[in-house]
């Protein structure tokens, strides 16, 4: 009788482990570089090529100058 109870409780404990979710450190997910773009979207600014790091950087530099440097805008 005692053996049966021990086996039954052992099985219950073993089954309980099946309900546990893994809690390991998964780490940070990979993040793609911004110049890879967002795909097809109505919000994408034109003037640069998706996937081309150089053109993306130029786009941001030009945008910073035009949008934020009011001295250069005033002289145009």
């Amino acid at each position: 009788m005692i053996t049966r109870i021990l086996i039954a409780s052992g099985m219950v404990l073993a089954l309980a482990a099946c309900g546990e979710k893994p809690q390991g450190m998964g780490g940070i997910k990979q993040d793609a570089a911004p110049y890879t773009g967002v795909g097809k979207s109505q919000y994408v600014q034109g003037g640069w090529t998706t996937g081309d790091k150089g053109s993306w950087e130029q786009q941001l530099k030009a945008r910073a100058q035009y949008g934020q440097n009011d001295y250069s805008r005033a002289s145009n």
Partner: protein
Amino acid sequence: MARMKFICDAERCIECNGCVTACKNEHEVPWGVNRRRVVTLNDGVPGEKSISVACMHCSDAPCMAVCPVNCFYRTDEGVVLHDKDVCIGCGYCSYACPFGAPQFPSQGTFGVRGKMDKCTFCAGGPEEHGSQTEFEKYGRNRLAEGKLPACAEMCSTKALLAGDGDTVADIFRSRVLRRGKGAEVWGWGTAYGSSNGGKA
């Protein structure tokens, strides 16, 4: 390209809170969470100065150093981002940050903070760029759309500058030369290293 940086020109900021509104609107930031805010020093006293404050994406970010689960990462552009799936909402980053950038939604029961939220330099997070998941967790990814942060682009007086460190430093330098004052860049030394001073 150098790294992405923010500069707030205290000589120009008029405390309109346009940057705060632009940020909240662009990313649909929930009530009670302010990724950006405007702080006024000596409020009401003649000569008061206002500055727009958010995550400065520090070169040696204290939040990254203290995070017990290493949820932070820095992109090649120098933008400090975090993974909300890894964040446990402990709040250590909030204590470590000299700018008070980390925000917590406090929606959980028993005063649980919830996942940390902060300025992303409009660069989203570790989800598919432009996806709904990225938008819901981190907001819009304007950098991947070829744009600059909404707060700076919406700033009416162009007090808040954002973008490539060399470019924004050049813009600020030309202003200082023209007006002959206001060379102090608030938070620059703390965020990007005092040895650099006002340089990029």
